[in-house]
Subunit: 453 residues, 2 copies
């Protein structure tokens, strides 16, 4: 039995079905109206780059039925009894409830948008966007109410993506960010370019300026109030990030880790045999900080769901953990990170140094060469690569995967600088930006460890 019919849950269901074609009933409940959709695609659907909602849906309940997997949408699991191995399910269409029993339970309840208890946050027109249902709510509001001014509160991934989506729909857009720069998952020195690019695109960006309250009434929203000013707004999008949706799991008695997500082992099993978790609600192990973390991301959900599904199906698989890789497009910029940023490195108690290199995506003389800024965070004594950040124009961001693969392999920058990466003028300078940065980082490590003569 699966709770939550999106990436984590349904990947597990499919894997389990593949390995146990006959002897397992599989049923998935979701309180929302959609199965297996691309949550990461929602901002692009709202902005209009993706035309059809159907494009975001990888697989419908009818598709799952062909694989003999039953999906019941608008069915909310309200309680789990781990001892009795049953769940209480409410059919949201008619309010009736039933009790269903399970051998295996897959907890895949996802994440929910952070909604701090600010005055007015529950006013109509204030939206958090985590699920496709949320996205459809925003779209309906945009089409029916035709708001003219949008205020995005919080410049996380969803915040910056939705700010751009609102702009491309013709709204006036203001972004409020508590940190010195939006995309605070990158270091402030990198984020400065993001603010600049957003402003050049036409978004008003205020940094170091949290929202304090929302003004309006039942008729609608009027403004967002900060310590500095009152910003008129007809719609507010909360872009403050998400937190694991674990209320029901916690109530059932499943241990919740320090990250706020459900504790699992490397097979994605909770401490209750036969009870599994995957996706945004499940805790992940960070391979660099060696700490438990909660990182809501579809690509983790898929891999974790696959892992759990193989194990439920009688195979053996483990999910080793994550290193915090992410990427997005902000206006004309590509922005990516992996490993630890400076703040996370400090929190992990590691001594480090940083190197930032400006280069180009292609040979400098080649048409279409675009700027790329690459930063590495390196352990001071050993030269071990701890983190990387990239900002640039077209062709920049996917280079983060080379840095991620290097971190995955616990490489030192001294081992990286001679790596045989691809070179041709349309694709890179003679030294790829990643190699230049590794080379300079190693130079810094050598300098910092030199014994004074």
């Amino acid at each position: 039995m699966v709770i939550g019919a999106d990436a984590g849950g349904m990947t597990a269901a499919s894997q389990a079905r593949r390995r146990r074609p006959d002897d397992l009933d599989i049923i998935a409940f979701d309180k929302g109206g959609y199965s297996s959709y691309s949550a990461c695609g929602i901002p692009y659907f709202i902005g209009g780059a993706v035309k059809e909602m159907d494009d975001l849906i990888a697989r419908t309940p009818a598709g799952f039925a062909e694989q003999n997997i039953e999906v019941r949408l608008r069915h909310e699991v309200t309680a789990v009894d781990l001892e009795a191995r049953t769940v209480e399910v409410r059919d949201l269409s008619d309010g009736t409830s039933s009790t269903e029993s399970f051998d295996h339970l897959m907890v895949a309840t996802g994440a929910e948008p952070l909604r701090p208890p600010l005055p007015g946050i529950d006013l109509p027109g204030v939206f958090g966007v985590q699920t496709l249902d949320h996205g459809m709510d925003v779209l309906e509001f945009l089409e029916k109410k035709e708001p003219r001014r949008a205020c995005v509160v919080g410049g996380g991934y969803i915040g910056v993506e939705l700010a751009e989506a609102m702009l491309s729909r013709g709204l006036e857009v203001t972004l409020l960010e508590t940190a010195p720069q939006p995309m605070a998952t990158l270091d402030p020195d990198m984020g400065e370019w993001i603010s600049r690019s957003m402003r050049e695109t036409g978004i008003t960006v205020y940094t170091d300026e949290p929202a304090e309250s929302f003004e309006g009434d039942a008729q609608g929203l009027r403004a967002v109030v900060t310590s500095e000013q009152t910003i008129e707004a007809d719609i507010v999008i909360l872009g403050l990030g998400g937190k694991p949706n674990v209320a029901m799991a916690a109530e059932a008695g499943l241990p919740i880790g320090e990250s706020g997500a459900v504790e699992v082992d490397r097979q994605m099993q909770t401490s209750f045999p036969g009870v599994w978790a995957a996706g945004d609600c499940a805790e992940k192990f960070h391979l660099v900080s060696r700490q438990p973390v909660a990182i809501p991301l579809g690509t983790h959900a898929n891999k974790e769901g696959r892992t759990a599904g193989i194990n439920i199906g009688g195979g053996y698989a483990t999910f080793p953990g994550v290193i915090g890789t992410s990427v997005t497009k902000v206006c004309d910029l590509e922005v990516a990170r992996t490993g630890l940023n400076e703040q996370e490195t400090q929190a992990a108690g590691l001594e480090y140094l940083t190197v930032t290199v400006d280069s180009t995506t292609r040979a400098g003389y080649f048409p279409g060469a675009e700027p790329i800024k690459t930063k590495m965070i390196v352990e001071k004594k050993s030269g071990r690569l701890l983190g990387g950040q990239i900002i640039g124009r077209e062709g920049a961001a996917k280079r983060i995967d080379v840095i991620a693969t290097a971190i995955w392999n616990e490489m030192g920058v001294d081992k990286m600088l001679n790596m045989d990466l691809s070179y041709a003028p349309p694709f890179a300078p003679l030294w790829d930006p990643v190699l230049i940065t590794a080379r300079k980082a190693w130079q810094r490590v050598e300098e910092s460890s030199a014994i004074p003569g």
Copy 2:
């Protein structure tokens, strides 16, 4: 003293100067007319994508002079006496010769185009293109003789790039390839797409069809003859690859390895102390096949030159070797490879299996999602990744660097499939093509090792 004033030699000179600012005279000789240029950029200069020849020149002799490095162009080193530690240098402008002595000798004589002894290969209008002087010869011929029909003999990197360059200058272009597909450095099943794309762009491509002779007279070229036909041509470009230019080094007594290049140790030193080699003329160690190889590529030349220069300058550095990574653009395709291809895997005596996956560069529903075909070659029993090949449209090829980094770290595909690579709809499907391919490859390894029940 440096022989050859391009990537390998001049990078060494710069590094040595940086570490020994005062106590080392550095002089570089080159028989050609240019220093430190991008050989890989020549096809794009001929084709017109790069407008100015100066753009290809990273640094002129005047630039080196500022760093107290003397560069003498059009000076050919005709002989080396390793015992006396002297070289004979001929000034090509006036034919005078002189003898110069050295403490350190940097051999960086590069590569020369393969010119098989076919009848007529020395006719005017038949060009090999390895150096910028060669490129300028071709350009002069194109401008003065205004040829209408070009025949490119050999579909290696330079061949396909120059075929496209000729086409973009308005010539009728035929490509003759001995192998079943051009870019035979990739496996034939991958290369088929390249032939198709070249034909769609307007290049006539004949495969499995070597050139046998060239017809013409002192007035010019008339045709290229194969076993099948006679192809009219006013200009021929040899795209058969290059070989290390080691005649002088061999004559001086420097050991030449089985790859045909000068033998060096990991510090880039030959068996003669103080005599170093770097770049296309120097042998490389292939980290997957564990065999010596000769691979002419500017990015290796730079890294090897840096290594030699640090050692000459009194530091310590090693160059670990290469894994055969390369990339190019062919018409509307991006083409890349790394590690071993099937033929090389067989030659290395390894049992292997292959997996090829068709995917997209972005989420399938996202605007601008382009096709990408990814192939992996995997050791059969262990699942160790041996090689990778990628063909696709915009955004495809640079993913080869992830595969290269994985091979560099001797990863098995089982360790790759959960790697934390970046995901967002504008950059990748939920599972990056590299991860899908690794996942399927591991599935194949598991299936092939299953014990029959």
